[in-house]
């Protein structure tokens, strides 16, 4: 058991190559010994030469150049990125040639595969010895040449928006198999515009496919995954905080295996957890930023630090992150937002944003006189939760569904919206329905204020809601009224698709003001904040 985990760790550690052969070889070679970067690059170059000789009919120079392009950014990427995070231009014919090879592999047993690989690597090692002397000169000059050729950095599409690409799916399946994370299968007919996204059913959580006791995945992560997939924990802040607490538990229970460094090994331990969680429910932008932060902190642990000390440092880091970025940020945001709430205001809110609810409760405590209109929409009906919280405080509320928006808007003086993420081009990604509210508010000249902490700012750019979104369980749209459930057998109707979108993006022209913990900024200044934050780090 430990051996297979060790092997996995080695293999994850050392390369993100699409070819299993490569990392298995390097993994077997470097048992306990870390290869230097140059050695790794050299090995890769040599393997490419090898492949090139094998596949002469596929136009070798073009392939090699593209392979080099793909591999040179690869060493700079963290080793934990999946092989599926590859550029689309990486030739499909290369992967197509491998996929028949890969397809037959699952048929053989693991031990047989390992024996095969060992035999292969022995033969390659022999040929490599001959090539090494001659190859050394050329390969050392090659890494210098390729960065100059690389003008635009090859962009990698994340695997969760490539569901209709069978190549990407196969890569994802291979990666999950390697990490021993169960693969969740899609459910139901998908609307063609969104066929590139996953659509899961809540009745089949991935936790059903894991045996108890779980070997690779920590139990608190399993619990967290179940909570995500069933919708028990929902909302950007809640999910991030739960994630960080689960990671604290993981770090607490972690013990460094011999001959390994905590800073490297822990990061590698986290990647199957992250894959598992993204199978349960796609990661949010805030969770992504939190994970990046943790990984950075872990890799910054000095190697001479004792394990207990390191664990303590990490726990403190996580606590301070939660405290600064979430709790204190919401205090700062409430302070700014309360300036914008004047007596006699009629404030419109949509859905349930923890931040907006906090702001309204604080403003009410500071004796501002206002009333709130809560807008809600199916199927989540999150507005009811917001309504409950506000009424409990004693705030006067009205409740409408989103279809009554243009009826109620002439009464409204301000609109407060929460955000799931703020993109680098100023677009606001939030619960589906938000952009509709912003649009109608603009038409009625009502100011729209978005409240968002800075840890939700992400470097992505998106101009529409199609390219990257989340599809929720389509069965949620089925409703029983007067004893009749109309859409019960929607799967039998071949041309019927149920679409349950979760997010949408609002253009910055509809948003008047963004309130962050750094102050009040216009929507177009998000890249400035990102720049300032990067400088700080």
């Amino acid at each position: 058991m430990a051996d297979s985990v060790g092997r996995q760790v080695d293999s994850i550690n050392h390369a993100t190559e699409e070819d299993e052969k490569k990392h298995e070889i390097i993994g077997a070679k470097g048992e306990g010994k870390e290869l230097t970067k140059e050695e790794k690059q050299r090995l890769r170059k040599e393997k490419k030469q090898h492949k090139k000789n094998k596949k002469d009919d596929r136009g070798p120079p073009e392939k090699e150049k593209e392979k080099e392009k793909a591999s040179v950014p690869a060493p700079s990427k963290p080793a934990t990125q999946s092989p599926a995070h590859k550029a689309a231009p990486v030739p499909v014919n290369a992967s197509a040639s491998e996929s028949p090879v890969a397809a037959e592999k699952p048929a053989k047993s693991k031990a047989e595969l390992r024996a095969e690989r060992r035999a292969r690597q022995d033969s390659e090692r022999a040929s490599k010895q001959g090539k090494k002397e001659g190859g050394q000169q050329s390969t050392s000059s090659k890494p210098k040449a390729t960065p100059n050729e690389l003008q635009p950095v090859v962009k990698r599409l994340p695997d969760h928006v490539q569901v209709d690409d069978p190549v990407a799916l196969k890569k994802l399946a291979k990666k999950l198999e390697r990490q021993q994370v169960p693969l969740r299968s899609d459910y139901g007919y998908k609307v063609s515009l969104f066929s590139h996204l996953h659509q899961y059913s809540r009745k089949n959580p991935p936790t059903q496919q894991i045996s108890i006791p779980v070997t690779v995945i920590h139990p608190s992560i399993v619990r967290l995954g179940l909570q995500y997939s069933q919708g028990i924990i929902a909302g950007s802040n809640a999910r991030s905080v739960a994630l960080l607490h689960a990671f604290k538990q993981v770090i607490q229970d972690y013990s460094t295996p011999p001959n390994e460094e905590l800073s490297r090994d822990l990061v590698n331990k986290l990647s199957p957890y992250i894959s598992f969680l993204s199978q349960c429910r796609p990661l949010s932008a805030s969770m992504g930023n939190a994970i990046k932060y943790i990984k950075k902190e872990i890799s910054n642990i000095p190697s001479q630090c004792k394990e207990e000390e390191a664990k303590r440092i990490l726990q403190e880091c996580i606590d301070s992150y939660i405290n600064e970025k979430i709790i204190l940020a919401s205090e700062a945001i409430s302070k700014y937002a309360i300036e914008k709430i004047s007596d006699g205001d009629v404030i419109l809110v949509y859905g349930c944003s923890s931040l907006v609810n906090h702001i309204l409760c604080e403003a009410f405590e500071k004796q501002r006189k206002f009333r709130v209109i809560v807008v809600d929409s199916r199927p989540r009906l999150e507005g009811r939760e917001a309504l409950r919280r506000l009424v409990k405080k004693g705030i006067r509320c009205t409740y409408v569904l989103i279809s009554a928006l243009s009826y109620i808007l002439p009464e409204v003086s301000k609109v407060f919206l929460g955000a799931h993420a703020l993109l680098a081009n100023g677009y606001v990604m939030s619960r589906v329905g938000t952009s509709q509210i912003a649009l109608v508010a603009k038409a009625y000249n009502v100011p729209v204020l978005v409240c968002c902490e800075t840890y939700k700012f992400c470097e992505r750019v998106q101009t529409d809601s199609f390219v990257s979104n989340e599809l929720d369980d389509p069965d949620d749209l089925i409703v029983t009224r007067n004893g009749k459930t109309h859409l019960e057998n929607w799967q039998t109707v071949k041309s019927l698709g149920l679409l349950n979108l979760v997010y949408d993006v609002t253009p910055p022209d509809f948003v008047d003001l963004v309130i962050t913990d750094l102050g009040m900024i216009p929507c177009t200044s998000v890249p400035v904040v990102l720049r300032v934050k990067n400088v700080d780090q």
Binding site: K340, K414, N445, P447, L449, D509, D512, L513, L518, M520, I521, P522, T524, S525, V528, V532
Partner: protein
């Protein structure tokens, strides 16, 4: 002294007096000094409630304290602050010239320019353009209730620039004749919008409807940390003059002296920091204030 010199912006005069106050201040600690300065700024705001005085004062305070004040001796610290204060004053006295130089290239030969009320910065821009041997006509709105437009027209006539005074109500009528609109600003807010004499918003809306470029010229000390969402959101202390604020009980009966023009109606802003789009103003403000 604030109304004394007609050529100096009230904010510059305010800063000059703040510097003098700093020189004469008797406090023993830096904290005490800052408190006295803030009080002085507040007193100045009470006398002349323009946005520029408030923003200029705050920027002055920030600028002089944005240096290492780790000297053990208070008088040394004070000297450092006074030096920085003088540097600040010198910079802003030159700012109007810089703006003029930047903007006059946008005025083409034969252009018809519309401007609002009396702004010294716009005057400087037009002066520079005239000195460049460009021929242009200027339409100035009367700008009631203080008829500031008529004073502007007089100053322009002295520069031999053909000028015509129009009624405030005639802005829509005249808009089709003009090529561009240039106005000054009392304050530039975080969103990239401007606060200026009442009637500017109207002019901006008309120019947008006619697709004419709407340019704003302002010095950088006018950048203020406000973010109004609409006309109502501008604080009362800027809308009315200081004497009215002190004497009148019900402000609803009074006419405000300024209005807010949102950034969506502004084409470009000319400042001594360069030519900016409204969205770049926020970047500059972050740099100035943070």
């Amino acid at each position: 002294s604030i109304r004394g010199d007609p050529d100096v912006a009230s904010a510059v005069a305010a800063i000059r007096s703040l510097l003098e106050f700093l020189r004469r201040d008797q406090s023993e600690t830096i904290l005490g000094l800052r408190e006295n300065m803030t009080q002085a700024i507040r007193r100045l705001e009470e006398t002349d409630s323009s946005v520029a005085v408030s923003s200029g004062g705050e920027l002055f305070l920030r600028f002089i304290s944005l240096t290492s004040l780790e000297h053990p001796d208070l008088s040394q610290c004070k000297n450092v602050m006074i030096e920085r204060g003088e540097l600040f004053l010198k910079k802003i006295s030159l700012s109007r010239g810089k703006v003029g130089k930047l903007c006059h290239t946008f005025i083409k030969d034969g252009a018809k320019i519309l401007t609002h009320s009396s702004s010294r910065v716009v005057l400087k821009v037009l002066e520079n353009a005239a000195a460049d041997n460009k021929r242009f006509t200027v339409y100035v709105t009367e700008s009631q209730p203080d008829s500031a437009g008529k004073r502007m027209a007089q100053k322009l006539r002295k520069l031999n620039i053909p000028v015509m005074v129009v009624l405030d109500a005639a802005v829509g009528y005249i808009m089709e004749k003009v090529d561009l609109v240039i106005v000054g600003a009392e304050g530039v807010v975080e969103s990239g919008g401007v606060i200026n004499k009442i009637g500017t918003y109207q002019m901006a809306v008309c120019s947008k409807a006619h697709n004419k470029p709407f340019y704003v010229v302002a010095e950088s000390f006018k950048f203020v940390r406000l973010y109004p969402l609409n006309q109502q959101d501008v604080p009362d202390r800027f809308k009315y003059t200081a004497d009215i604020l002190k004497t009148v009980k019900d402000l609803n009966q009074e006419h405000p002296m300024i209005d807010y023009t949102p950034p969506s109606l502004i084409t470009l802003l000319f400042t001594d920091l360069g030519v900016l789009t409204p969205s770049a103003v926020s970047d500059e403000l972050i740099k100035l204030y943070l």
